[in-house]
Structures are given as C-alpha cells and as structure tokens.
C-alpha cells in the first residue's frame, strides 16, 4: 500500500479530466483534474460550499459535468449504465430517509440490486446464494448484524450509518464513496466508522474517497487529502503537506494552527484562541508562541 497516496505509475481507477459544472444557481465547479489510483484513501476537505459533495456526486456518476469527462478505468461514466457503475462504485450518502418500514436486512439487501438483474435461469440459484453471502458478510463486518431484524427507521444515527455502509459493501464495489460519514455521529462512532473503513480498505483493497469535515479525522484516517475551495483544487497530497497554517487560514478564513499530533507522526489542527497574538512559524510543524 502506498504511503504517500500519490502515484504516477499505476493507471488510475477514477480519472477526472478538466471537469466543470455549472448550476443555474450560480454555483460553479472546476475546471478540475484529479486522478484516484486504486487502493488510495482520499479525503475531500474544504469549507462548506466548496463543492466537495458535488465532486463526490460527479464521481458517482449521478451528476453529469457541463464539460470534461469522468472516467472509470478509462471508460467514461456517461457511457456506462447505472447498473454497471453500481457494480463497481458504491456510495454511502449522508442521510437516508426510507418511508417504509424495511428491516435492516432488507435495506442491506438493496445493495444487491445492481447484481440481481438479468441473471440467466441456471444462474438464478447461485445468484441468490451469492446475494445472501454478500449480505451476511457485509452485515457481520460492519456490525449491523447486531440489529438484524429491527426496523431501519428505529435505529439511531450511528446504527443507521452502519447499515448504510453495509448496504454499500454488499454491492461488492471497488470504489467506495462516503459523503460526510461522520456528520451526525458522536466521537466514538466517528472513530469506529473511519477505522472500519480503513480496515476494509486494506482487507478488500478498496479505493475510498470520502468527504470529511473534520480535518483531524481526515488527517488520521486518510493518506491523501484534496483541499477544495470555491470549486477548485487548492492542495492535493499527504496530510502533512496539505494541512498548513497559511493554507488553512486562507481557505477556511479561520484562525487555526497546525501542530504535531501528540500520539503519532502527523498534523493536528487546533483552533487558536482569539486575542492571543502569535508569531506565525514558517515551519508548520513547529509551534511558535509568545509568552
């Protein structure tokens, strides 16, 4: 597994070429170019409205760009059917509202939709068996099997998150896209979900792209950060390189400082208390402070 997330020698799994998108509301994304190599764990970070979720939806193929192409293994997404895309790309959306009283198992089974169709007669039984294997594995692995039999709508946010993750895993994807997976979770659940995703990524050789608001979680669990601002890529690289005082101050218009993480090598982003005059250190990892 790569340690720096940047690769020039392996063909990218997902390539975004000069993609731009214009919404009638005036929102403007791009033109941007990005490539995700197989096996990477990429976090999309940036302020609200920077286009992170839009970029994720472009990657999933549910939104078409106004210009440029998004390619999966050299094939443009627009040329692939939804079914084919869903067999390789799975999305864990931020919220899922289901108006029916589906049980957890039924919701996870929905992840098999793309693989369930057009089975020839003799493959039908084998297909059913494979469905059940995939569903059972996904539920066991994410811990959703603990609420097997319960109605999805009655679960807490963290529990629902697990079930939706299980549903995405049941698709047996190569690329997993996460839209703010930690948004509604408490700190324990946040750590659980992200460490589970990291484990799964290592085990199953998934490629993961996640939109993360929390910079520290992004730095800890992802090996490549893509910082977006106003629809453009401002920085792209390992956490150390991307999380710098000056860059973050400018992009987020907030007072933050990047210090070394006390537990492991890596950056930690902390808020600066208002009112303390600091001399900003040119070296991001060294704190500088006036008494």
């Amino acid at each position: 597994m790569r340690s720096d997330g940047l690769s020039t020698s392996v063909a990218p799994l997902l390539a975004i070429h000069a993609v731009s998108l214009h919404y009638p509301t005036g929102f403007h994304l791009g033109p941007l170019t990005l490539a995700v190599a197989p096996g990477e764990r990429v976090a999309l970070i940036g302020p609200n409205g920077a286009g992170k979720t839009t970029l994720l939806r472009l990657m999933a193929g549910v939104v078409r760009p106004s210009a440029g192409t998004v390619e999966l293994d050299r094939r443009p997404l627009s040329a692939l059917s939804r079914e084919l895309i869903a067999q390789r790309i799975a999305v864990v959306p931020q919220t899922l509202q289901i108006p029916f009283a589906f049980t957890v198992a039924e919701v996870v089974a929905l992840g098999r939709t793309a693989r369930r169709w057009k089975r020839a007669g003799w493959q039908w039984r084998e297909g059913l068996w494979r469905d059940e294997q995939a569903i059972a594995w996904a539920m066991t692995r994410t811990g959703a099997s603990a609420f097997d039999g319960r109605v999805f709508n009655e679960l807490s946010a963290g529990e629902k998150q697990r079930v939706v993750l299980a549903m995405a895993l049941a698709q047996e994807p190569e690329l997993l896209l996460l839209d703010e997976p930690t948004a509604h979770l408490d700190i324990r659940a946040q750590l659980d979900v992200l460490s589970l995703v990291a484990e799964l990524q290592r085990e199953q050789r998934l490629t993961v792209v996640g939109v993360i608001h929390d910079l520290n979680l992004a730095a800890q669990f992802f090996n490549r950060l893509v910082l977006l601002s106003h629809g453009q890529v401002v920085a792209d690289g390992p956490p150390d390189a991307v999380l710098r005082d000056d860059v973050l101050d400018q992009v987020f218009a907030a007072s933050v400082r990047v210090v070394p993480h006390p537990d492991h090598a890596g950056p930690l982003v902390v808020h600066r208390r208002p009112g303390i005059a600091d001399v900003r250190s040119p070296i991001a990892s060294l704190p500088a402070r006036l008494p």
């Binding site: 289901i98 029916f100 198992a105 099997s145």
Partner: protein, 439 residues
C-alpha cells in the same frame, strides 16, 4: 349504450319472488386476515450456511467466477455485540415464499377462492347451493347442462361480475402499490396521477354523445373511460416534466392540478349539457363505482390484460424496493431511475385504466389494501405485490357482494361500500402509529 346495469333489478325481475338476503360467509371471509406477528420473528437462522460463515470469513469476490484473495480472519468490530451474529441467516428479499410469508400468501389465495365462491353463491336472487353446483357443473361439462333463469343469472350475470370484481380489485390494488412505491407517499392511490378525473371526463363525454356502438365488447362509456384515464396519465407525466427533470413531487402536484381541472370540466358539462340531463343519474352512478360488465363481453380482453399487467408488476418488485431509498439513493444502488419511473407509471396507468373502464371510479381499494398488507407482510415488494393482488381481489369481491345483497334488489354503489370500510381503516392506521409514521 352501456351504463351500469342494476343487476339486482335484473335478478329480481327474472324471478317473481323476492331474493333472500344472506350474508353468511361474506363477512367471515373478509375478516379472516391473519393477525400481525412481530416482524422480527420472521428472520430465520439458517444453521447450515451459518456455520460456514462463522468459521471462514467470506470476502466478496470481485467477479462471479474469480474470488478475491481472502483476508485473514478480520478482527471483530469493537462496537459489535457478538451474539453469534455470524450464524444469522438474512431474510432474502427474493420471492421465495419463505416460512411465514409463503404461508400467508396461501391463506390469501384461499381467501380469494372463498370470496369468489361466496360471490357466486349469494346474490339478490337466492339460489340454493346444490343448484349452484349443478349449474356450474353443467357449464363446465361435469354434468348435464342445466337451463332456467337462475342458470342464466349465475352464468351470465353473476359469474362474470364476480370474476370482474376480482380482477378489478387486483388491478387497483397493484396499481396503488406501484404508485405508493414510486411516489413514496402514503396518500398515493391509483388515481394520484389523474386517471380518475380523465376517466370521469371520458365517461361524461360518452354519455353526452349517447352513442351505442360497441367495439370489441366495449361500449362508448368503457372505451372513452379507458382512453380518458390513459390520456390524462400521459398528460400529467408530460406536465411534470416541465423544468427538465421529473420529480415525484412534480408528479403528485401535476396529478392533483389536472384532476381538479378535469373534475371542474365534468361538473360544468353536467350542468350545461342538454343531452346529459336525461342520463345524469346513470353518469353519477357510474362515477360512484360499480362493476359494469355486460355478461362475458369485456372479460376476454380485460382479464388477460390485467393478469399480464400484474405479472409485469411482479418483475418490478426489486426496483420498487430500491426506489424507497429515494431517487438518488436508488441510482446509487444501480437503478436507472428515469426508466423505472416510466415503467412504473405506464404499468400503473394501464392497470388503472383497464379497471376503471369496467368499474367506474371505485376508491379506497388501491389505497387501503396496500397499506393493510404492508403492515402484515412488510414492505418488501416481492412479497407485497402478489399479496396485494390477492387481497384486492378478495376485498372487492366481498364489497360487491355486500353491495348486491345488503338491500336487495337495490344495488348500492360499490364505491360507497369500499369507502365505508376504507375510511375507518385509514383512521385506525393513523391512530396506531403515534411515532413517526413510516408506512
């Protein structure tokens, strides 16, 4: 001109004696819906496959034939309460009629048969059971053919009517389920995208014109009712497209608005049109809903059409399940949402139009039956759709039976019976869920 015939009057006129009122099995059949059991108990634990799961972690292969390398035993997630979960079977959404669900379908199928028998056996004119059997046996060829007025009533009035009721009930319930699944709205029924208003306008025009041509067994009223229903659904679909994309909210709103406009047109015609004055009562009776088949004329076309339609609906079960995730959620799991929307709408519109053409506007079947069965069987459409078809058939056969027999020989409009049952049931549904209403 084919309007709704007062079958009770026909049956009463065939025999000079008054018919007897017998309710008997009718009520019992309607009430015999299996009680709801907690849904959690229907999750099965399958030991044979479970044991393999607990010892060997199965990692999903990358293609159907070539497995990915299996990782060593993954560490248990820190949050998981390990209760032998690896051994849990998972309830399949496939239509394999497992355990309780399969049993319930059998119960429903039996219910339909019982309802059909009751519908045939009872009516405004009392026909003793042994005579009923003799007549049917004669018709099928098991015994000598039997003649007489009650044979005519049974074979040419009652039997087609009861079969039509079953088909209409199944069609309306299926269409209602399709639309509820597509629009994700608890108030969606087969008429949500304008079919009822369109059929009403078509029937009004037919009555106005006063034609008497019959094409393929369909008079002007059923034919124009069918055309009106389909045309309005297409119109609503087209209207909802304004703005590039179609959303479910757009469909509902366009349906509502179109229904209002067409309903106003019907009212205006009723008041202003001279030819309608003499036929107003018939038009109103048609709109209140009632099984309006003339003998076996329409069934050869309607029956296969509805059965094929219901069969096609069963194939959409997986898509409907996925649509519950929302339009974007469904796209994420691989559903081509615009195509699915078109298919579901087309099928629902066809089923509704076929039903409406021979029954007028019978409400509540398409609304209440899906809800009730969803509570009993769960929302998975693979199980729900066949159940809904059977349940709708029974419901309408029994409602029609009541309509014919409660105040024989006068016939009550079936739509009133279904509303009298459906309305309180809906209030009951509202009452039972104090928390967030997930239907």
């Amino acid at each position: 001109m084919t309007g709704r015939r007062d079958d009770g009057a026909i049956e009463g006129a065939a025999l000079s004696a008054r018919g007897t009122i017998a309710l008997g099995e009718g009520d019992g059949a309607k009430g015999a819906v299996p009680p709801r059991s907690p849904r959690a108990t229907s999750t099965e634990i399958r030991e044979s496959e479970g044991s393999s799961l607990s010892h060997r972690p199965v990692s999903p292969p990358s293609s159907p034939l070539s497995p990915r390398p299996v990782a060593p035993n993954p560490p248990p997630s820190p949050c998981r309460t390990h209760s032998g979960t690896a051994g849990h079977g998972v309830r399949s959404v496939a239509p394999s009629g497992r355990g309780g669900a399969g049993g319930r379908l059998v119960i429903l199928a039996t219910l339909v048969l019982v309802a059909l028998l009751a519908g045939v056996a009872f009516g405004a004119v009392g026909i003793p059971p042994e005579r009923t059997l003799a007549i049917i046996g004669g018709a099928v060829g098991l015994a000598e053919p039997v003649g007489g007025p009650d044979s005519t009533i049974l074979l040419y009035v009652r039997l087609p009517r009861v079969l039509a009721a079953a088909l209409i009930g199944a069609a309306l319930a299926t269409a209602g389920t399709l639309l509820q699944g597509l629009l994700r709205n608890p108030l969606a029924d087969p008429y949500a995208v304008g079919a009822s208003a369109g059929a009403g306008l078509g029937a009004t025009v037919a009555f106005m014109l006063g034609l008497s041509t019959v094409v393929l067994g369909f008079g002007p009223v059923p034919a124009l009712g069918f055309v009106g229903a389909l045309a309005t659904s297409a119109l609503v679909y087209r209207l909802a497209r304004v703005g590039g994309a179609i959303s479910t909210t757009g469909l509902l709103l366009a349906g509502f608005a179109t229904s209002a406009i067409l309903g106003a047109a019907v009212s205006l015609l009723m008041v202003l049109s001279d030819p309608l004055v003499s036929r107003l009562r018939q038009l109103v009776l048609w709109m209140m809903g009632g099984i309006a088949v003339t003998g076996w004329d329409q069934l050869p076309i309607v029956a296969p059409a509805i059965l094929v339609g219901i069969g096609l609906a069963l194939r959409l079960a997986g898509t409907l399940d996925a649509l519950a995730l929302g339009e974007e959620g469904a796209a994420y799991v691989g559903v081509d949402v615009p195509a699915a929307r078109r298919s579901v709408l087309l099928l629902a519109s066809l089923l509704t139009a076929m039903a409406v053409s021979i029954s007028g506007l019978i409400g509540f079947v398409g609304l209440v039956v899906p809800h009730a069965l969803r509570i009993i069987l769960g929302p998975a459409h693979a199980r729900l759709l066949p159940a809904v078809a059977l349940g709708g058939a029974s419901f309408l056969v029994v409602a029609d039976l009541l309509a014919r027999t409660v105040i024989a020989p006068t016939e009550l409009p079936v739509g009133a019976i279904t509303a009298l049952v459906g309305g309180p049931f809906f209030l009951y549904l509202l009452n039972r869920s104090r928390q967030a209403y997930a239907f």
